[in-house]
């Protein structure tokens, strides 16, 4: 019969309509909206009914691998001094596809020879394409991709060139946003140091 296909299709729409309310009823009092477990449910395979996450009231937690604008890592000493991990080797600047990383290497004022530390470090975040290659190829785990994606600002000119001060974050921040990456890197580092110590002891 003509029109049967439309009727059949409309039953799907009707089912979606009812599922929206049924799921709300099923979750009544359990916090389908505005709670972490509700958000988790609404972005899982089990979700029926309404999918939408009400940003910015609700936010989907970003996965660990999420990447957005790099940051530099510094170690914190006991009395608050900061030690950059970066050695100004320039690999990140060389691998960067849009060439948005600018590094000034420190030179020894007495001898004029290069010192493995950045004097200045800039990232033009207008141009950064969030590809994550800098973090991937940094041999010192000194530059990593951030999770903070809400960086809108009123000034779209000079403020969009992040300098070293703006880019620098403590190791503890990195360990907090990327716990498993951090743990595996620490493990690799300890292993390497142990191997080194062993080799030295043998020699």
């Amino acid at each position: 019969m003509y029109g049967l296909g439309i009727v059949k299709g409309l039953t799907t729409t009707l089912r979606h309509f009812f599922e929206t309310y049924l799921d709300d009823l099923r979750w009544l009092g359990k916090g389908r909206y505005g709670t972490p477990q509700g958000i988790q449910h609404r972005s899982s395979k089990n979700v029926r009914g309404l999918f939408t996450i009400q940003y910015p009231e609700e936010k989907i937690p970003v996965p660990e691998e999420f990447r957005y604008i790099p940051f530099l890592i510094h170690e914190e000493g006991a009395n608050g001094e900061q030690q950059d991990r970066c050695t100004a080797c320039g690999i990140c600047a060389k691998v960067c596809p849009p060439q948005c990383i600018w590094i000034v290497r420190t030179t020894d004022s007495a001898t004029g020879s290069p010192v493995p530390a950045p004097a200045e470090f800039y990232i033009d975040i207008d141009i950064c394409m969030n590809c994550g290659l800098c973090a991937e190829y940094c041999p010192f785990d000194a530059i990593k991709m951030d999770h903070d994606y809400e960086i809108a600002s009123y000034d779209r000119r000079q403020a969009h060139i992040f300098d070293k001060q703006r880019l620098s974050r403590p190791v503890s921040y990195y360990a907090a946003i990327r716990p498993s990456n951090y743990a595996s890197e620490e493990e690799a580092r300890k292993e390497k140091e142990a191997r080194k110590a062993k080799a030295q002891a043998a020699a």
Partner: protein
């Protein structure tokens, strides 16, 4: 697939065309060299007698050190097998050669692109105008001696970045400085854009018609776009109408052109990987796949087993997410505003969440590396993929099928609309679902398997009518086949390494050429890469499937109603990021 082994086929070709074809002798090159004067003859014989009926890719190359320009043709047989490559070298000062459009209409837009980018003239081309650049643009931008605005240095990495790099905003540097040239005698005030006139003139004389029923009607020109909600981006169709009937239609592209290929030739090989994400931004993973294959071919490496499986899983998930998107937005084009689209992209959302967890980004995945992938699946993601593939996606595809396929409105608007017969589809080098919906069972995953596709049991989805409805159905079929592949890949995926050798930020790529193609969700996506042993590719050319599938748009639309043009365009499934590059 072929009964004759490759060697005898080669011998046969050489026996027939020995005097026209000369073996390519440059190291790392394959195929034949052919004189411009004998190109058409050779191509006709190859097509008619040797079944090389699919002209996949036409690439211009600037061989500046030799003072030549080169055109490279990649021919395939729709019965399967590898490429036959023809090279034609031309003098730089007056580069012209006969057009192949009369033999392979699918070369039309590609030859226009080579003309636009290199200034190579194709004699006998029906409509040789600029295509990506605007009319009135002076110069040939892909030639090596042409420098773009913001030109800094021949190749990346730029010396200004390290060790003495004080950041400057590129926007603050005057873009219209000494690196912009105007033709002699040019004034902005006196300039009249001739391009539009040339475009309209390309339709020939628009005669007052008459629709056969005795009514006196006028033919008229209608511009759809470039700003139009149904064109999926900044895209324009110019249509000649008789009443509501389309007499002729031409696509106008290039509004999103950023010279991806020029950027690609400044980049190092690895830097291009995230740039390929931005081609067809719906399917960054299959773009990564094609480019990685092309460079791996040159380097002579293969990824380890686990990485091969990861690639297949990611590429097939990407195909499903693309087809869900396609179905949703085809219905939008039909006027079913957003209910089907939202139902379809719900599950795409779950796939994108997985991409984000695995690659770090929802759409700009940048996940493949030469000889592997960027990182292994994080903990728990494999399980999430399994649940999605086994429980949720099959249900979703069935739901969409039941929701839409039987609808009389969809059937009425789609059946018999925009028909592309199989022989025309091949001639136009239409790719992927468009080709297969026309009854040509041609899938690169089967015809010339790449990665480990030869290990999986799946069918090449084929539909026979070649209309919009079949192009809709074939996407459902392909999603079901993708699920089959995913089931097998998820069952068999081994543990192990994900990268061959050490991950390097500067790869050594031996000199030579390579062409790798994948069957992306939009069709055959090819990458033609020429290396001269330096850190930057000498030539980096993309064969964008949705760009080339636009070539038959005119033929599919002729005789249809103007409202159907929107649907026919939607059924090709274009992404302007890829069309315009």
């Amino acid at each position: 697939m072929t009964s004759t082994p490759a060697t005898t086929l080669e011998q046969e070709i050489e026996a027939r065309l020995g005097d026209a074809l000369a073996h390519e002798t440059r190291p790392g090159y394959a195929g034949y060299r052919v004189e411009a004067a004998r190109l058409v003859e050779a191509a006709r014989t190859l097509r008619d007698d040797f079944h090389y009926d699919y002209l996949s890719c036409v690439s211009g190359v600037d061989q500046l050190p030799e003072g030549k320009l080169e055109v490279v043709y990649h021919l395939f047989r729709t019965r399967g097998g590898g490429a036959l490559v023809l090279h034609t070298l031309l003098p730089r000062d007056d580069p012209h050669l006969p057009s192949l459009v009369s033999l392979f209409p699918g070369a039309e837009l590609q030859e226009r692109e080579a003309y636009d980018m290199y200034g190579i003239r194709f004699d006998g081309h029906p409509d040789l105008r600029r295509i990506l650049m605007w009319e009135g643009f002076a110069g040939w931008p892909m030639r090596k001696d042409w420098k773009e605005a913001f030109y800094e240095q021949e190749g990346k990495p730029f010396d200004a970045r390290w060790p003495g790099g004080r950041a400057r905003r590129s926007e603050d540097q005057n873009p219209f400085g000494s690196n912009v040239e105007y033709p002699p005698g040019f004034t902005l005030e006196g300039w009249v854009p001739e391009g539009e006139d040339a475009l309209y003139a390309s339709f020939g004389r628009i005669e007052p018609g008459g629709n056969g029923s005795g009514l006196r009607t006028d033919r008229m020109l209608i511009n759809l776009g470039p700003q139009h909600p149904s064109t999926h981006g900044i895209f324009r169709m110019v249509a000649v109408l008789e009443g509501e009937t389309i007499i002729d239609i031409k696509p106008v592209v290039g509004y999103l052109h950023r010279n991806h290929e020029k950027i690609g030739e400044r980049n190092t090989f690895l830097m291009n990987m995230p740039f390929t994400d931005r081609l067809d931004y719906i399917n960054s993973l299959s773009n990564n796949f094609g480019y990685a294959l092309a460079v791996e071919k040159l380097m002579g490496i293969r990824p380890p087993e686990r990485a091969e499986y990861i690639r297949i899983i990611m590429a097939e998930l990407g195909r499903i997410s693309n087809h869900l998107w396609f179905i949703g937005f085809l219905l939008n084009d039909l006027g079913a505003y957003f209910t089907p689209a939202l139902y379809a992209i719900q599950d795409r959302e779950l796939i994108l969440d997985l991409f984000e967890a695995i690659t770090g980004s929802r759409m700009m995945c940048n996940y493949f590396r030469f000889g592997g992938v960027a990182r292994d699946f994080p903990e728990g993601t494999l399980q999430r993929i399994r649940e999605l593939v086994e429980e949720r996606l099959p249900r979703k595809i069935d739901e969409l099928d039941g929701f839409l396929s039987g609808s009389e409105i969809l059937r009425g608007r789609a059946i018999g609309v925009g028909v592309l017969p199989p022989d025309r589809a091949i001639a136009y080098a239409a790719a992927g679902p468009v080709l297969r919906a026309s009854g040509v069972a041609y899938d690169v995953r089967r015809a010339e398997p790449y990665g480990i596709y030869d290990r999986f049991d799946f069918n090449v989805a084929v539909r026979t009518h070649g209309d919009v409805y079949d192009r809709y159905l074939i996407r459902l079929d392909e999603m079901r086949e993708s699920l089959k592949i995913l089931h097998q890949a998820l069952r068999d995926i081994p543990a192990g390494e994900i990268q061959t050798g050490k991950a390097m930020y500067q790869v050594r790529v031996p000199a030579g050429e390579s062409y790798a193609r994948v069957d992306g969700p939009k069709g055959e996506l090819g990458f033609y890469v020429v290396s001269n042993g330096k850190p930057n590719p000498w030539r980096y050319h993309v064969r964008p499937p949705s760009f080339i599938s636009l070539t038959p748009l005119g033929e599919m639309c002729r005789g249809q109603k103007i409202a159907d043009a929107v649907v026919i365009l939607g059924s090709i499934d274009i992404t302007l990021g890829e069309v315009d590059r």
